[in-house]
């Protein structure tokens, strides 16, 4: 016996009842629009989730939040030792290799940390899915949002390190907030999609790290793509399908400034933006479509 809402007599709302909070629970099918009103109503919870994730991240570590500074520095130093020290990939660069790789690590670390944590967030917090209602989308959103602190800290480290290494930031730095926005939109898209997929198919727990690994190589975080791009110009468009490629390039150009070793490719950034927005919409609506089954499956 399936009750159809259309022929169901609607009860008049009694005066004691707050009709603004009228809620109808019934089966939904197909693609479900985003309930912005509800998200605004619950907005404080999103901030609490972000606050929690930040607070918890460096608890019980002796060095505490110093890790937020140490992580990107150690990463860059390691890359400098391996890729520059051993393979001499940075020999023709106009800036020290350390700065070159650090600038690329800003968007990349944000993205990979967001996807690494965010992709698992529904599985790792499944007890919350089965015990209480709140807008599910806040969990992956918070996993992305909590990375802002690390981003701000690494950004400050870079801005301090640049003058020390004798690099003057270019005016392109004014575009960085916009580039960060693209990074966030892209990360959200990937995290929405992957977190929902991981609930349905645990395989993505294993697939995600490989995907990140491949994307990291294909984004040319650790080495300059210019040689390859000059010999085979078409390959840039293939690489740009990975939206991180255009973003990493844009971050470098904006922070360090362009030169013949750091070319600025607006066409790749344009592709990045289109793919990021598309990924965001696909992720968001796929999440909405599947979220009503999370508690049954998780």
């Amino acid at each position: 016996m399936t009750a159809t809402p259309s022929n169901m007599p609607l009860n008049e709302t009694a005066p004691i009842v707050d009709s603004a909070r009228d809620l109808v629970i019934q089966p939904l099918t197909g693609w479900i629009p985003v309930d912005w009103k509800e998200l605004i109503q619950y907005r404080e919870l999103l901030f609490f989730f972000i606050w929690r994730d930040i607070k918890v991240r460096y608890k019980q570590a002796v060095l505490g939040s110093a890790w937020a500074v140490l992580q990107p520095v150690i990463n860059s130093v390691l890359f400098a030792l391996i890729f520059n020290g051993v393979f001499h990939l940075g020999k023709d660069l106009p800036v020290p290799y350390f700065i070159y790789v650090f600038a690329a690590l800003l968007p990349w670390t944000f993205f990979s940390a967001a996807v690494n944590v965010g992709g698992q967030v529904l599985v790792s917090q499944q007890h919350m899915l089965t015990k209480i209602y709140f807008p599910r989308i806040f969990l992956p959103t918070a996993a992305v949002g909590a990375n802002w602190v690390d981003l701000v800290i690494s950004m400050s480290v870079l801005l301090l390190a640049m003058p020390i290494c004798g690099v003057i930031p270019s005016v392109g730095i004014l575009a960085v907030p916009f580039l960060i926005l693209i990074t966030v939109v892209m990360s959200l898209g990937f995290v929405y999609f992957l977190s929902a997929l991981t609930v349905l198919y645990r395989d993505f727990k294993f697939i995600t790290p490989f995907m990140l690994q491949i994307m990291s190589y294909a984004s040319f975080v650790q080495y300059p793509p210019e040689g390859l791009l000059q010999s085979k110009p078409w390959i840039g468009y293939v690489l740009a399908i990975n939206p991180m490629f255009g973003l990493v390039n844009a971050f470098r150009a904006a922070l360090i400034g362009t030169s013949d070793k750091i070319l600025w490719h607006p066409e790749f950034l344009a592709i990045s933006i289109v793919i990021s927005v598309a990924m965001f919409l696909v992720g968001l609506f796929y999440f909405r479509r599947t979220e009503r089954r999370f508690a049954d499956i998780a």
Binding site: M1, T2, A3, P5, M8, L10, N11, E12, T13, A14, I16, V17, D18, S19, R21, D22, L23, V24, I25, Q26, P27, L28, Y42, E44, L45, F48, R52, K55, V56, K59, Q60, H127, M128, L129, T130, K131, I132, Y133, F134, Y201, R202, D203, F204, I207, R292, R293, A295, D296, I297
Partner: protein, 431 residues
């Protein structure tokens, strides 16, 4: 009913059988499945409505709740209570039907959902409050009351992972108890903490009721149901009854929970003096209300006992019925010889015994019936926990109150009087 705050119409939730298995299905299975039969999924979709493969956790649930009512949802394990609460809390989506809720809902299916072990008590109050739907300003306003209620002032800045389980639960409940929704959905969360804290929780629930809030309440604790609820909805195999009065609902629930739950008496474990066919083969317990295995406090109860294979038993037989509480402490003993001077012979192989107890003055609760057969020298057969019997509240003294199981075992009458005493200790006779 234009005043209802919750209207549930034909609500149902189906799980596909084997969904448990399917949930672990790998991506590979989906891929290969699609390659093998790309149209299977489409076909499945077209007859998704067919219910033969579905297990309906709840189905065709209909009821209405008026503002300020406290509705108890009771039923055996697996009757669908939790599923219903989850659907009404929007945790899972119904498969059919609909529910209309007109007010701010807070649901409490577990205490401490979202508590983070690494965070301090103070931080968790805010986090948990926000998860339960409170605004930050609201939590700040109630912060002191919450801390007070939970009795954790000294440990506010300690991570909750260092809390004792009692403190943890107290803090978690305290946050939930300070919610002020129009509709509260509660699942068995009162069964936490020690006795004194439970009392406090019940008190708090009582306050919530007095505030005129609407509550949907699942519990196995019939005392709590009787104390708090204005109506009861009984769930059985995923379907619900009409709204019942708490007394009637609890009675039906208890009668139901004894139906066919256990082995037939003949197959129950027993101790025998020497190996023998089972002798006790039938026991029926009927109280004044006519329900099996239920009787009222101080009400009459009848035990009908059937014996088989008594032919080879020598001597005069006597039979005893012992009543024990849940902790297996014997409280009463009804013996065919002690009370009635009766013994019998197992002449034709089957004997029916009847034991009428005019009044069983026990406090409400669950008791167990033990059967003992002896031949005057030794026990021939003994069946511990042959049946359970539920004693339910009855207004024995006309005061609306009788002792509870925490206060004693027996409901006995007495007369109280009082007289004022003057300062030198002389009794002043009332004029």
């Amino acid at each position: 009913m234009s005043k209802s705050i919750i209207t549930v119409e034909g609500l149902g939730k189906a799980y596909r059988l084997g969904q448990k298995l399917e949930q672990w299905s790998s991506f590979y299975d989906v891929l290969t499945g699609f390659v093998r039969s790309p149209f299977k999924k489409l076909r499945q979709k077209s007859n998704a409505a067919a219910s033969d493969e579905a297990f309906w956790a709840i189905r065709d649930i209909n009821f209405e709740v008026a503002p300020g009512e406290v509705i108890g949802l009771i039923g055996r394990n697996g009757a669908g209570k939790s599923t219903l609460l989850k659907v009404l809390s929007r945790i899972v989506e119904p498969s059919e039907g609909r529910a209309h809720i007109r007010g701010r809902v807070a649901s409490l299916l577990e205490v401490g959902t979202g508590f983070h072990p690494e965070l301090s008590g103070r931080e968790n109050i805010y986090l948990n409050g926000a998860i339960l739907g409170m605004k930050r300003t609201e939590i700040t306003r109630k912060f002191d009351a919450i801390v007070d209620f939970a009795e954790v002032e000294k440990f506010l800045d300690t991570p909750v992972k260092r809390y004792s389980s009692g403190m943890y639960v107290r803090l978690a409940f305290a946050v939930a108890a300070h919610l002020e929704p129009e509709i509260l959905i509660v699942d068995e969360v009162l069964a936490v903490g020690d006795a004194s804290f439970q009392k406090k929780c019940m008190g708090k629930m009582g306050d919530v009721v007095k505030d005129g809030r609407t509550i949907l309440f699942v519990s196995h604790n019939m005392d709590a149901v009787l104390q708090l609820c204005s109506h009861v909805v009984l769930l059985k195999n995923g379907r619900n009854t009409e709204r019942l009065s708490p007394d009637e609902g609890v009675k039906q629930y208890l009668a139901m929970s004894n139906e066919g739950t256990s082995l037939p008496l003949a197959e129950k474990p027993r101790t025998q003096f020497r190996p023998h066919m089972p002798i006790f083969t039938g026991l029926s317990i009927v109280g004044a209300s006519g329900h099996r295995n239920v009787c009222e406090s101080n009400g009459k109860v009848n035990f009908d006992i059937e014996l088989s294979h008594t032919l080879e038993l020598p001597g005069d037989l006597t039979c005893g019925v012992a009543i024990s509480n849940e902790r297996s402490q014997r409280i009463a003993f009804f013996h065919s010889h002690y009370q009635s001077g009766m013994s019998f012979r197992g002449t034709d192989g089957r004997v029916r015994l009847s034991c009428n107890v005019p009044s069983l003055p026990l406090v409400p609760g669950r008791y167990f019936v033990e059967l003992v057969l002896s031949d005057g020298y030794q026990v021939i057969e003994k069946v511990e926990r042959a049946e359970a019997i539920d004693v339910v509240f009855a207004d024995v003294f006309g005061t609306g109150k009788i002792p509870k199981s925490s206060q004693g075992y027996l409901v006995l009458p007495c007369e109280w009087t009082h007289e004022p005493i003057d300062e030198i200790g002389l009794v002043q006779k009332a004029i």
